[in-house]
């Protein structure tokens, strides 16, 4: 793990904090896209010396999907919404940032206590992965708009990917591609559903979907 890769890991942490402090949706989408690009580059930088075609292809596919296709899909969904381009979260932005700092501390603490992580995993990768997952989950539960919840899902998925990277995880290529395809399809189907939500309800406010209950 070289210096450049370390910088990328720190940037991932910063993107998480930035997303927590944003209320407007389009910069949110761009920040998550930037985070996706960082994570696409990370394995390339970590393996500059022993580069393989497989690794390069995988990184390219993941970068294109996360940094170009997802923001495009979500941006389209956003353009359909018209009025509602700002998030009014259940948890205020300042409180969200404070929570983010707590998550960071918690992630560091848990990361340092995981049993037998051993030599393979580089220092900050595991805490960063945990932090990213926490932020993603927090976004899903603390935000009202369906679109922000999708962003939360993406951030959480980024965190899980980071965890895989931390252990230089050797999943078979088929599985790697399958996971990527699934995430792509998930956002695609969510995008279509967002479009229908918009047309049906004229809003993307998941908190106002309360018709089904016991």
């Amino acid at each position: 793990m070289n210096l450049l890769a370390d910088v990328l890991v720190i940037l991932v942490v910063l993107t998480n904090l930035r997303v927590l402090g944003l209320s407007r949706l389009s910069p949110c989408i761009r920040t998550v896209a930037f985070q996706g690009a960082l994570l696409g580059l990370l394995p390339v930088l970590a393996h500059l010396d022993d580069m393989t075609t497989r690794l390069a292809l995988q990184a390219a596919a993941s970068t294109v999907i996360k940094a170009a296709i997802f923001p495009w899909l979500l941006g389209r969904a956003l353009r359909g919404t018209g009025s509602q381009r700002e998030e009014e979260p259940f948890v205020g932005l300042t409180a969200s940032l404070a929570a983010g700092v707590l998550f960071l501390a918690a992630a560091q603490w848990i990361g340092s206590r995981l049993p037998h992580v051993g030599q393979g995993a580089p220092g900050h990768m595991v805490p960063t992965a945990l932090f990213t997952m926490f932020v993603g989950l927090f976004m899903i539960v603390s935000r009202r708009l369906a679109l922000t919840q999708v962003l939360g899902y993406l951030i959480m998925e980024n965190g899980i990917t980071t965890f895989g990277l931390a252990f230089a995880e050797k999943q078979p290529l088929l599985v790697e591609l399958g996971i990527l395809l699934d995430v792509f399809m998930a956002v695609f189907v969510m995008g279509i559903t967002l479009f229908h939500l918009n047309r049906e309800f004229d809003h993307l406010d998941a908190a106002r979907m309360t018709e089904l209950r016991d």
Partner: protein
């Protein structure tokens, strides 16, 4: 053969998106279902060879769940033909009948077939990563199906299903990585359940425990274990009944299979007590939650959905107790047949009375003799009354609980079954007896056999399994249960 099992529905599904005329597309659906069923039947005599280094292989548990999926899909495909025909004509005759547009039928048929392909893949996957890919793909293929009727309620249900299940399953992906970390000490280990069971002693127990927790949350969400079940009643009640039948009867089994496979690894590593008690605890809790919500339920499709939560609880409970494992397998089969039959019947009730409200449904036995009788029989079957299949397997599970030396848990289990029986009886019996209510007075006579035959046949199958379990089935059930290694 394994490639064909996945490929035939997948290609038929892709083709269905592009076939314009209704007739050939519906023909394609039934033909693909028949082909899938025929291939599945042939695997009972000739076990297909494993492919991709054993990533895809048909073991007894997979065979059992694949067969159930295939049978249910065949029934659902036949039912769908009648259903789609009716939906089409209803729009022509009277705009008020269906107060919403339906999704394009091509999308519906295509997704239905893709759904079959992904469930088949889930039943065949031995590799944990591939299994994850397949289970997540089932969510994505089925969510457009829930939104077939384009209205607010189905949209809300689709969103909850999509988001909750995707997030839940993402947790299981983290579990996959944890599993890989647990296996770090032996570098060349394949992440297939067979390899992991064989080399379980080389796995790190701490990481393995964490893995199991993540899988339990992840696949437990998909399985509808309380308290992670919140999406299930919404999705199962708002989806078209033919889709609910598949969601309840076939899809939940896939998630259960995934949990079973990781439980097998923990058992082999000597941690079966840990994972078993978690499974049994969540199982009983799910049964209790379901019992509470079934009592006095106002929507009969929601009642069926909560009954699925209950039965998934029964399965996890049985899985958690070693000696009851084969019984759990048999119960999965019985539950699938019975629940699919109930959902298909519910679909007929909805289209006859245009209501899902229990209060507005009275006198079914007189108004709709066939569906009314099926509804009543289905109630007795699903609550575990003799002579239907679920009775046999629920009794077997009870015996297993005693054999495992857990009489207290067995008593709780029996009490919860009784509570569910009372709750469901109060709802269903009211619906069946008495004078037909307003909505059912003018119900047309039942003669669409595309939509009556499938539930009748499934009901007969559930009845047969109650009286006689074919020896081959019993053998497979036992083999599937033994894979776990009884503690």
């Amino acid at each position: 053969m394994i490639w064909a099992l996945i490929g035939v529905p997948a290609f038929a599904g892709l083709a269905a998106f592009f076939v314009k005329p209704h007739g050939p597309r519906r023909g394609l659906l039934v033909a693909a279902a028949l082909a899938h069923a025929a291939m599945t039947a042939s695997t009972w005599s000739v076990r297909p060879k494993a492919v991709l280094n054993g990533y895809l292989e048909l073991d007894p548990a997979g065979l059992l769940f694949l067969s159930v999926t295939s049978v249910l899909f065949l029934a659902a495909a036949a039912y769908a033909v009648g259903y789609l025909e009716r939906a089409e004509h209803a729009e022509d005759e009277d705009e008020d009948v269906f107060m919403f547009d339906n999704a394009p039928e091509a999308v519906f048929t295509g997704c239905l077939l893709m759904f079959l392909a992904t469930m088949t893949m889930a039943a065949l996957s031995q590799h944990f990563g591939l299994l994850w890919v397949a289970v997540e793909a089932t969510t994505l293929a089925s969510s457009p199906l829930i939104h077939f009727h384009r209205n607010n309620r189905s949209l809300e249900a689709t969103w909850k299903y999509l988001l909750i299940c995707s997030v839940g399953i993402a947790v299981a992906l983290l579990g996959n990585f944890f599993l890989a970390v647990a296996a770090r000490s032996s570098q060349d280990l394949l992440m297939t359940s067979r390899e992991l069971v064989l080399h379980a002693s080389a796995l790190d127990p701490e990481w393995l425990k964490a893995t199991f927790l993540l899988f339990l949350v992840g696949y437990g969400t998909k399985l509808g274990l309380a308290p992670l079940h919140t999406w299930l009643p919404d999705a199962h009640s708002e989806a078209p009944s033919v889709v609910s039948a598949l969601l309840s009867g076939a899809l939940l089994n896939c998630a259960f299979l995934a949990l079973m496979r990781v439980h097998a690894v923990l058992c082999a590593a000597g941690l079966g007590g840990y994972s078993g008690s978690l499974l049994a605890g969540f199982g009983l809790f799910s049964m209790a939650v379901a019992a509470v919500f079934i009592a006095g339920q106002a929507d009969y499709k929601r009642m069926l959905a909560y009954s699925s939560v209950e039965h998934m609880g029964i399965l996890s409970f049985a899985m958690g107790l070693g000696p009851a494992n084969p019984a759990a397998m048999l119960h999965a089969v019985n539950h699938s047949l019975t629940k699919a039959m109930l959902f298909l019947t519910a679909g007929n009730l909805v289209s006859a009375g245009r209501t899902k409200s229990v209060a507005e449904t009275r006198g079914l036995l007189r108004a709709l003799p066939v569906s009314g009788a099926l509804w009543l029989a289905g109630f007795f079957a699903i609550t575990g009354c003799p002579p239907f299949g679920p009775f046999v397997s629920e009794l077997w599970i009870l015996k297993g609980a005693f054999a495992a030396g857990r009489p207290a848990l067995a008593a709780v289990y029996a009490a919860l079954l009784a509570a569910v029986f009372i709750g469901m009886a109060a709802v269903t019996l009211k619906m069946c007896h008495g004078e037909p209510s307003e909505r059912f007075k003018a119900a047309p006579p039942e003669k669409d056999w595309w939509r009556l035959a499938p539930p009748v046949i499934l009901a007969l199958a559930a009845l047969t399994l109650g009286c006689w379990v074919p020896p081959r089935l019993l053998e497979t059930v036992k083999a599937a249960g033994d894979l776990l290694g009884v503690r």
